[in-house]
Subunit: 314 residues, 2 copies
């Protein structure tokens, strides 16, 4: 019986179910209602369902020599939850798929602990999933949330102000250190390994009039082009204004992927002090929205620079 009062449905014998039972034991009250053919959830009356799915693959999205298994599980789950934040949704639950070679089972126990950390951090739980053998390790995370008014990519209008949450450049600095064969600084490493889904920040933003948002997991400039395309507007980003970590630069921070901060538009100036007091992270005005053919204009010292494309594996 879980903390939420719902049963964990009993399962019959079998190797796969032994692994699931072990995962359930580790998750404890952080797993709810698991064990039937599908999970049953209630979406609060008057709210819409928000849902997204993300896969993290060994050697593509993470490297086992860079992160601990627990960090790998945390990061995969937090990255998926970030998509709920981008829509200003409140989490209802997550579904977790572990696929792996059979000798990876002990590793998956530790990865599951990181999944538990991530669902705990946003007050939600694991409600289902799937388990499979595979040639390589991967973690699939489906996130479910609800909201009254969603913050989409398409709500920005000419005249809106452009903001970004948090401080940028840390994940790229960590990646560059690892790729150069040395350990990143503790701050940059933490920003890569322990991103915080901006669930609470997004709720503050939507309650204070935000019109559009996107999470900048492909890098600020790459994702800004998606917001510009979706809203049918021009975005002007002043790179000099970007809030960056000590060992970064405006241009590097603007193309730094693996950030789970929010790029947000709002029709009038936001009360940045109130946001920072409530949410505990910076909020920085970095540019403007203009009516016109969708385009991203990046300025450095008042001069236009060519934006680097978002990172793509294809």
């Amino acid at each position: 019986v879980s903390a939420a009062g719902e049963r964990v449905t009993a399962m019959g014998p079998g190797g796969e179910f032994d692994v699931i039972r072990e995962l359930m034991k580790r998750w404890g009250s952080r797993a709810v209602g698991v064990g039937d053919d599908a999970a049953l959830l209630s979406v609060p009356e008057g709210q819409r369902l928000v849902v997204s799915t993300d896969v993290s693959i060994d050697g593509v999205h993470f490297r086992r020599d860079w992160l601990t298994p627990r960090e790998i599980g945390y990061r995969a789950t937090a990255a998926a939850l970030s998509d709920l934040a981008a829509m200003a949704a409140t989490p209802l639950g997550v579904l977790i798929v572990f696929a792996m070679p059979t000798d990876f089972v002990p590793l998956v126990h530790e990865i599951a602990d990181g999944v538990g950390d991530a669902v705990d951090a946003v007050h939600t739980s694991v409600v289902g999933g799937d388990l499979s053998v595979a040639g390589e390790l991967s973690i699939g995370v489906t996130v479910l949330g609800a909201c009254e008014r969603a913050l989409t990519r398409s709500g920005a209008s000419g005249g809106d102000h452009l903001y970004v949450t948090g401080t940028l450049g840390g994940p790229l600095a960590a990646l560059e250190a690892w790729r150069a064969g040395h350990q990143p600084g503790a701050d940059a490493r933490a920003r890569f390994a322990r991103p915080v889904p901006r669930i609470a920040a997004a709720r503050w933003l939507v309650e204070h009039g935000a019109t559009a948002a996107i999470d900048i997991s492909d890098g600020l400039l790459g994702d800004a082009t998606h917001l510009a395309a979706a809203s049918g507007v021009q975005l002007e980003v002043e790179l000099d204004r970007l809030p960056i970590v000590a060992d970064s630069s405006p241009v590097a921070a603007a193309s730094s992927g693996e950030e789970y901060e929010l790029l947000v538009t709002a029709p009038s100036a936001l009360d940045v002090r109130d946001f920072e007091r409530e949410c505990g992270i910076p909020l920085t005005r970095i540019g403007m929205v203009r009516a016109g053919t969708p385009e991203l204009i990046a300025l450095l010292n008042g001069k236009r620079v060519a934006p680097a494309a978002g990172y793509s594996h294809f």
Copy 2:
């Protein structure tokens, strides 16, 4: 603009987004609302959300020399939708994750056509997903549905009758043929390659008093032990009664995995003729539910036989 009247949000440039745009073109009106950080859906008032996720991996769940890419996509999606049928839910949408080596992109276009066939067959659509490079091909399918009253595994009581939908043994016969190096018969092959999620049948069953259900994707006997454990009952299955395909036997059909039929309990005899007229497939009474310590009793010619364990990769 999709058939349902919702926009496909415009996306910026990038190789990954070119692949997504090509998939959207192939899906046409069968993809709705894709392109934001997360999908937005409405759960009908008074209904609960039903959600499940399944992964299909090359060489584990399918073999490219047995099925066409289109069949692989169909089967992965239909298998996931079968979990909604087992809960008597109506589909709201699916999320599709394609992970693959970069040179598999043309193959994924054809797999996507099969995904489209499967969502069409149950009158739903693709509402989101993810795309990644990977060392091996895998297809992740998250299914979302809604229902007023869910059919769980835990609702069976002593005295209930036990039924199964459809005809069993086809998938195992197909697998045995492939493993022996020859082509399976057309009927057995179709039952493996084109399983039909029993969405409409499940609705008939729940409307006519069914108390519990499970889909028998791990084989009838294996999944019956889960239903017995979840409901806290004994299940008595008379193997002689099983509806089987021509080239099978009761014992083989009872342990045949990859079946996407439903094992169902009901307190009084169901009108099998009305079911078959409405749903176009057989419904067969195959045993009884008895109060007592959870256990599965399989009888052949009135004598108890040891049930084979469900198939497990672990």
